[in-house]
């Protein structure tokens, strides 16, 4: 197993809707295109599909919150302190 390559592949599945859709249609093909070996491709075919969908949704919401500058309570507090 090339672990760094696997992590990069998973990261793409979590953030890239099109890559994830291709993967769900053809797990082996998408994994092969990413250079993942046969044994790992076979195991990826058994991926937790519901979990993949929900995890990707959850990560997407987190990224959207950061992109739109949603601030945590701590950030709001720090801003108020800095203005004093």
């Amino acid at each position: 197993m090339n672990d760094a390559r696997i992590e990069a592949f998973l990261a793409r599945l979590y953030v890239d809707d099109l890559a994830r859709a291709r993967f769900l249609r053809d797990p082996g093909g998408e994994a092969a295109a990413a250079g993942i070996g046969a044994a790992d491709r076979a195991r990826l075919g058994l991926i937790d599909r519901a979990g993949l969908e929900l995890a990707a949704l959850s990560f997407g919401r987190k990224r959207a919150g950061k992109l739109h500058g949603r601030r945590t309570g701590a950030r709001r507090l720090l801003s108020r302190i800095a203005r004093r």
Binding site: A4, F9, R12, A50, L54, T72, A82
Partner: protein, 255 residues
Amino acid sequence: MADDLVGAPAAARRAVRTLAAQVPVTLHAVSLGLATAAPADEAHISRIARVVDAVGPESWSEHLAFVRAGGIEIGHLAAPPRTAATVEGAAQNIDAASRISGGRPLVENVATLIDPPLSDRDEATWICEVLDASGADLLLDLHNLHANATNFRFDAGEFVRKIPADRIGAVHLSGGRWIVSSEATGSERRLLDDHLHDVPDPVYELLVEVATRSPRPLTVILERDGKFPPMDRLLAQLDRARAAIAKGRAMAVAA
């Protein structure tokens, strides 16, 4: 949150340092991505280390997760494949964080909505191996554990009994809610750890188990990021946590 203080005005850092001189403060990081087969970003570790140095907290912590790979930012905490490579990578990254910051972080178990692909061992085994290889102590998030145990059908109590009790340095409590996948993926329910809901009963039961086994003083933190209830309801949850610890300690004495 340590990450909120990276790049924050000096006045804000001074304020938190003043606070840390008066009450116990722990800094919690989410962005280092220590649990990966790849080396963590030492420049980013240095930024967090400067915050730790500026604030002088009682302790600092990070998650056993990866947050980026192959140049892709995931945006939050992803559970890595549980393998020997991520055990070794996490240990090396925790070592780097310890060396750069001057203090070993507590490391926290994460909640995951997906059973981490390509894992070859269970979560408790993987965490024990990371603790053993890194020398770091565990920040045991009991709601993360409860969520994973619920979603992936394992016994959370057995998990607690497997973790070396003397390596549990702190505990997080929080709540969550159910979410459902689409029909295309089987309309499966998963418990999401969202820090927006009250602590559920099974988490207090796990806290009793932890207190029964742990020989150390435990710092217990109630995590709540929004949808704040009246303060008395938050305080009542802390009271329940204290009662759970007292019950566990009493059971340990009686045993």
